[in-house]
Symmetry: C2
């Protein structure tokens, strides 16, 4: 299979075949394969580059509950909403000092970034915003099935997170377990979320066209994640052209 060929199905897949096709997409397209992540995990990023990564990823974190609320706003099924609402609570927490967004801010703060600067969203790459906003819009506008399916990158998240935490602790002296607490919670949340979403897609994609929609939604989401790392790589690694207005490592960014 060449780099740009996508799976096109021509017959209805069994639930197990659908899962295999989804996992195959992950094996080819999930952002664990991106060069930026490989540099990150190999301990080859400067502190400024790590800051740029954590800063831009904050924008993604901040939009996830909006994306999930967008999905909930589309279904009149209380069962689906009751399942999905946990994702919002996981990110927002019960109060200002809990939840995934707050834990991500512990990472940006632990890496030396001013929290107010991070939350101001100035300094975020425009390409990050375009990719993330496209995801939020996709979930609002495509079919409910595609909206659910676009979350399926979580099938691959736990493995990546385990690898990342070990690599970051081993390779960056200024990184400790405390500032990586975001990832601890995701290790249990992501598999719970992805199990539900996978079962939902297996149950509700009952035509070839719907199964193709599920696959295409995962392709789309892989693109969303990949494009964010492309933008980071281009701005901060190679060629290292920081766009106007974006975060510049080692300055006060005023």
């Amino acid at each position: 299979m060449s780099n740009d060929s996508r799976t096109q199905i021509t017959r209805l897949l069994s639930p197990a075949e659908l899962e295999a096709a989804l996992r195959d997409i992950g094996a080819q397209r999930y952002h664990n394969r991106h060069p930026f992540h490989q540099l990150l995990h190999a301990g080859k990023l400067s502190k400024g580059q790590l800051q740029a990564w954590a800063l831009n990823r904050f924008y993604y974190q901040s939009r996830i509950p909006m994306k999930d609320a967008g999905l909930m706003s589309r279904t009149s099924d209380p069962d689906l909403r009751r399942e999905w609402i946990r994702r919002i609570s996981d990110h927002d927490g019960a109060g200002p000092d809990t939840g995934g967004i707050e834990r991500w801010l512990r990472l940006t703060s632990g890496l030396g970034l001013d929290t107010e600067y991070v939350m101001s969203e100035t300094g975020i790459l425009a390409a990050t915003k375009f990719a993330v906003d496209a995801y939020v819009r996709y979930v609002r506008e495509q079919s409910l099935l595609q909206a659910v399916a676009s979350s399926l990158t979580e099938l691959f998240a736990a493995t990546l997170i385990q690898e990342r935490v070990a690599a970051m602790l081993a390779n960056y002296a200024y990184v400790d377990k405390k500032i990586l607490s975001y990832f601890d919670a995701r290790l249990t949340q992501a598999p719970q979320d992805s199990s539900f979403a996978l079962a939902y897609c297996q149950k509700h994609a009952v035509t070839v066209a719907q199964q193709q929609d599920v696959l295409d939604a995962l392709y789309f989401k892989c693109d969303v994640l990949w494009a964010q790392l492309d933008a980071l790589h281009g701005a901060y690694v190679s060629p290292g052209h920081v766009p106007p207005g974006a975060f510049i490592p080692g300055t006060d960014n005023k």
Copy 2:
């Protein structure tokens, strides 16, 4: 003030003046003044008419969490989302047998309607759907301030509910407290919700135009509630023209 004149402000109101202007709108336009509610509370509706009311109002209940999720999908402020998420939990509950929607189904069932028929949403008046869907869309598409402000009919809900519960228990032999449990919960939820929304609007409407938006949002929402009762009145009271496909009291509605 004539029936159709709306408050148009020409200077910035104090928080207390804004609240007074909102309460004035409620006094003129809230649906407690609708003839259908007056018949309901006076014990003058037939069981079939009560069924039609509860059936159509189910559609409104079913869309409220979608409306609230739509609002949450529009804000990147975790504080606002953390406050608003309770409204969804209140309606959906923690499991299939809890929450406001389920309690509303106890009312429709207690009035003799088949729950499956109610949930199928066939038999709901088209005008009910148009009004409710317009509300969901309004919250998604207008400003966040207007979205919050459109919930402010809850300022007037507790009084109406107290009146309604007493009147229904007094005037309809087949109504008991158990099937009215939806309203018990709303007696504490509505004031909590409306206090927050009012304070939010007082804080965030800082220009004359924004304060006018807040007032207009409440006018809009009053129209949404009123139009639902107009439709019920026209179909089931006077002239009593049930539109094609809608619920017909006393038949099996297949």
